[in-house]
């Protein structure tokens, strides 16, 4: 747990000032006021976006090339794209969280909502290390996701800019009367109905996978400072800013990808990706392609979540976490117990 908090130092004034400044510029661009810093921010965002999209293009080419683009013979129907999404998950410690609360699994939180322009999904993984300091880690992630959900319904929500949604939700956290402290990773994505394009903003090690015809065609980039120290949005206790690792919403990795009907979208926290390898996920989800019945889709989500959970408690399993640890010269055999959150969505 300590890995999240100690070691990494960022100069407080630089981090808080830059995150404040860019928060405010982001907030002001969202609010329609002009700000000079906004141009630099947008430039950086575009740079990040280009970087990620080239990676995903590279990923596209390594996988089967016959699937590039929808077959031109098939009728590209003018119908707007929709997501049929289901959720499943488990908290790490069932004893601490015995009841199901919508929007939360232990310290993880999620939301899904749809508006007339887009379908929006998001997950956030609260950093558990805060519990030592008497702060409930799930509070931060839950509020973040709930703010995203509410902000998605405002009139000035731009469905092609999920990073603005995340930034505004982060600003909103600071405007609560009840003091909310803590930190979490976050991944928010929107599917723009008309164009069928997926836009995603990711901070930290949660992520999304797009599966088409039994292969992964798009995955989000995982952001880590060090081993097991992901990028995270944080609100530190006052006076502790120097000691707390915090990243701003401008660090989000952006993604843009065209979706087709029949694609499968998996949005999950690191509880899944650290315990279940991609091959295993593909095996389980290969038959889920094209499924539009939510009940059937729910069974697939349940199996992914259950698989992640059981593997996480398995001391002999060669998990991606173990492989990654080995790369960093750390011995961590078996799975990694963590909260599991799975949102499985099918594009129609």
């Amino acid at each position: 747990m300590n890995e999240y908090l100690d070691n990494a130092r960022r100069s407080i004034q630089r981090a808080m000032n830059s995150s404040y400044h860019s928060l405010s510029t982001v907030a002001s661009t969202a609010g329609g006021l002009a700000a000079t810093g906004g141009i630099q921010l947008i430039g950086r965002l575009l740079g990040l976006k280009a970087q990620v999209s080239t990676e995903s293009m590279a990923g596209l080419q390594t996988t089967s090339s016959s699937d590039l683009g929808s077959p031109s013979t098939g009728a590209f129907d003018e119908q707007q794209r929709r997501l049929i999404s289901v959720v499943c998950g488990f908290p790490k410690d069932i004893v601490m969280y015995p009841d199901y609360v919508k929007g939360q699994f232990g310290e993880d939180a999620w939301f899904k909502t749809s508006t007339s322009k887009a379908d929006t999904l998001g997950v956030a993984d609260g950093v558990g290390g805060w519990r030592v300091y008497g702060i409930d880690p799930g509070l931060f992630s839950r509020f973040l996701m709930r703010s995203c959900e509410r902000l998605a319904h405002t009139a000035d929500f731009e469905s092609t800019r999920p990073e603005l949604l995340l930034a505004r939700a982060y600003c909103n956290l600071l405007e609560q009367k009840q003091p909310i402290l803590g930190s979490s990773t976050a991944c928010v994505l929107t599917l723009h109905r008309e164009s069928g394009t997926l836009y995603a903003a990711n901070i930290g090690d949660s992520g999304l996978l797009v599966i088409r015809n039994g292969a992964v065609v798009c995955r989000s980039e995982e952001q880590q400072h060090h081993f097991n120290t992901p990028y995270q949005l944080a609100v530190p206790p006052p006076g502790q800013g120097l000691n707390v690792l915090t990243d701003g919403p401008e660090c989000a990795a952006l993604l843009e990808f065209d979706m087709q009907p029949g694609d499968l979208l998996l949005l999950a926290t690191d509880g899944v990706y650290d315990n279940v390898s991609e091959e295993l996920l593909l095996q389980v989800l290969s038959h889920a392609a094209g499924v539009t019945d939510p009940i059937k889709l729910q069974t697939y989500a349940n199996s992914v979540a259950l698989m992640a959970r059981s593997l996480s408690f398995n001391p002999h399993h060669e998990s991606p976490f173990t492989q990654n640890a080995r790369r960093h010269n750390i011995d961590a055999p078996g799975g990694k117990p963590d909260d599991v959150t799975v949102i499985l969505a099918s594009v129609v």
Binding site: A35, H153, P179, V235, P238
Partner: protein, 663 residues
């Protein structure tokens, strides 16, 4: 939501479920279908599908709808780019109702109770006699999706109910009509629980989809919060709407409202300043005069004509000298003054004397004020000193040209100008203000945020005598503000709440410390970029009596700056430090020792407060009247009883609400 909901119950108390079902449908079909006799085919409206109701389009149907959007609001607690405690939370279904508590998913206004009137920055109302017994402090204008004839307006209050005093509706004939007005007894004995407030509306035939809700905070204990507003009524069939909206229909509607055709009434109509007489009142008056007047006179023991000859000569009103009459008339509100002018030639001459129009306020008549009225007033108000056009002209009734003409004619001696929430203002109007009214002592431009912002405030730099400047919720250029601060050295009251992210408060604070050391009150609610350095510069304004730094510094560390401020400004009476999470226990000890004159102290959301510090403050600040300790999460549950005891012991109003159940 079933179309046929058996079992009665008023329109649509939905459970505040979240939005993972279909996107918010703002129109529900409610049980009112059951209660009305309907002239539909088949008599009794037994509905099945929506298709059937389409067939009944000709006759209209009852529906209840939630707010679709917000047009205007006078103040809100939260800032625009967030969605916590802001006006946009009234949109859609209620999110928290029927839970009771202080939730961020509701609409909260900036003030409560009488505290702001007792603060050093309190203002006097201009022409206060115009205001009704329960004056309006705040308002919100909302619109819905469908035009209806309103039968019920339900307001879902989730915290401290009892703030609503008036409900207005804007009909398609472009007039505001008051659907309900509170009497004093309505505001008493409101139970502290969430409620669906649906007062009995006046019977009316107007067709509307825009409502204005007005609030009065004076009896509220703490902030009032609104979760949703529902408008229930009968829709109007399309053909009736077309009829009413066509020019012929408009004339029809107008003539129906006119009462009487005598010369005086005609003159009144040209003035367009007339009491809204409904047909019923004229009939009632007739009946009274015919049947009851003689009895009334006898009951009041008024002498009849025969006995008059024997009595001594009596003095009547017209015998009094002009000056006395002027003095008497100066107590009248504006409407009555206009009515006096219709009595006789003498009274017309007296009531149009310019001395009666030195202080002019159209705030209480916002629904009637239009360009013609301004024109009329311009003729009379040659010695205008104080002008209040707040809230007027919201729907285009006042044209900017007319306003500029008025100001150019009569504005050069103006000392007080209030243009709060005036939607007709554009850049050239502000320019005129800056050029013409250079004797201004007070300028209030609250809630003038337009899109695009009224950035052309540059002519305001012309004003050099300002003592009070109120830019609450208004966007402005910071260079302009800085230059205004430099030129107005006598500035005493400055309100920069909600000025937005484009203004750097540190720079403003430095300027204040250098140029405006006479400052008495300063409001920086939700300002940005204030740091310890800015607070230190502020400590040079040693006359400060009121300082509102709510939500200013948030996470930033204060260092010694608060101590310096308290040390240098001993006259501080009101200090708001809401959500300044960087306040330490040392700072609280300093507040106790140095805040001798403190009367209002807001420490909401401060993390490091313990009840010992609270006790310190209560003991040392002997003049303290208000102490806000809400959301100070450091308190144990057991401390609350202790604090309640202290509140009684020291006679201080202590607020300590928190979210009762986190969900």
């Amino acid at each position: 939501m079933s179309l046929l909901a058996l079992g009665g119950g008023g329109g649509g108390t939905e459970d505040g479920s979240s939005s993972d079902t279909e996107p918010d449908a703002l129109i529900d079909f409610t049980t009112m279908l059951m209660e009305r006799k309907h002239e539909c085919t088949g008599g009794w409206f037994s509905c099945g599908s929506k298709l059937q109701s389409q067939a009944h389009e000709d006759h209209g149907y009852y529906l209840g709808q939630y707010v679709l959007g917000v047009l205007d609001f006078s103040s809100q607690y939260g800032i625009d780019y967030s969605i916590s405690y802001t006006a946009s939370n009234v949109i859609g279904r209620p999110a928290k109702f029927p839970a009771y508590g202080d939730y961020p998913e509701t609409f909260t206004m900036r003030t409560y109770g009488d505290w702001w009137q007792q603060a050093p920055s309190a203002t006097q109302e201009i022409q206060a006699q115009n205001l009704p017994a329960l004056p309006t402090h705040d308002f919100i204008v909302v619109y819905f999706e469908k035009f209806v004839v309103p039968t019920e307006v339900a307001i879902f209050e989730t915290f401290n109910p009892g703030g609503v005093v008036r409900i207005w509706a804007y009909s398609i004939t472009k007039r505001w009509s008051c659907l309900w007005e509170a009497t004093g007894s309505d505001l008493n004995h409101v139970p502290r629980d969430s409620r669906r407030f649906a007062p009995p509306l006046r019977k009316t035939n107007i067709i509307t989809k825009t409502l204005r809700i007005e609030f009065n905070h004076s009896r509220l204990n703490y902030y009032t919060e609104i979760d949703a507003i529902m408008l229930c009524g009968r829709t109007v069939p399309m053909r009736c709407m077309h009829q009413l909206l066509s020019p012929a229909g408009k004339r029809l509607a107008n003539t129906r409202e006119e009462s009487g055709n005598g010369p005086i009434s005609c003159k009144l109509r040209t003035l367009k300043f007339q009491p809204s007489c409904q047909g019923n009142d004229a009939v009632k008056l007739h009946e009274f005069i015919n049947n009851d007047l003689s009895k009334f006179l006898m009951d009041s023991r008024v002498e009849s004509e025969q006995q008059k000859n024997n009595s001594t000569t009596r003095i009547c009103l017209t015998d009094l000298p002009c000056e006395i009459l002027l003095k008497i008339l100066s107590y009248l509100d504006l409407k009555s003054l206009f009515r006096m002018g219709q009595v006789s030639r003498l009274f017309y001459d007296i009531s149009t004397q310019p001395l009666l129009y030195c202080d002019l306020s159209l705030k209480a008549y916002w629904q009637l004020a239009d360009s013609e009225l301004l024109c009329t007033l311009a003729r009379r108000a040659t010695m205008l000193r104080k002008l209040d056009l707040s809230w007027c002209g919201g729907f285009g009734e006042i044209s900017p040209t007319e306003f500029k003409k008025f100001l150019t004619q009569r504005g050069d001696n103006l000392t007080h100008l209030r243009l709060n929430s005036c939607k007709f203002l554009n850049a050239t109007c502000i320019e005129t203000v800056g050029i013409v009214c250079d004797n201004l002592i007070e300028l209030s431009l609250r809630n003038c945020t337009t899109n695009p912002p009224l950035l052309n405030f540059s002519c305001l730099a012309n004003l050099k005598n300002l003592e009070r400047l109120d830019l609450f919720q208004t966007a402005f250029e910071s260079e302009l503000l800085l230059s205004m601060l430099e030129s107005n050295r006598k500035l005493k009251h400055l309100n920069l709440a909600f000025c937005g992210v484009s203004v750097n408060m540190d720079n403003v604070a430095t300027h204040l410390g250098t140029y405006n050391t006479q400052l008495v009150s300063l409001d920086m609610w939700k300002a940005h970029f204030l740091s310890a350095r800015g607070l230190q510069s502020l400590s040079r304004c040693q006359q400060l009596e009121e300082l509102d730094l709510g939500w200013c510094m948030r996470e930033a560390t204060l260092g010694d700056s608060l101590y310096q401020l308290l040390y240098n400004c001993p006259k501080l009476k009101k200090l708001f430090l809401s959500a300044m999470r960087g306040i330490t226990e040392r700072d609280l000890m300093h507040i106790a020792t140095l805040g001798k004159n403190l009367e209002q102290l807001d420490l909401m959301g401060i993390l490091n407060i313990t009840h010992e510090r609270v006790y310190d403050i209560l003991v040392h600040c002997s003049k303290l009247k208000l102490l806000d300790l809400c959301f100070c999460d450091n308190f144990m549950d057991s401390d609350f009883d202790l604090i309640a005891d202290w509140s009684r012991l020291f006679n201080v109003d202590i607020k300590n609400s928190r979210i009762y159940n986190s969900s």
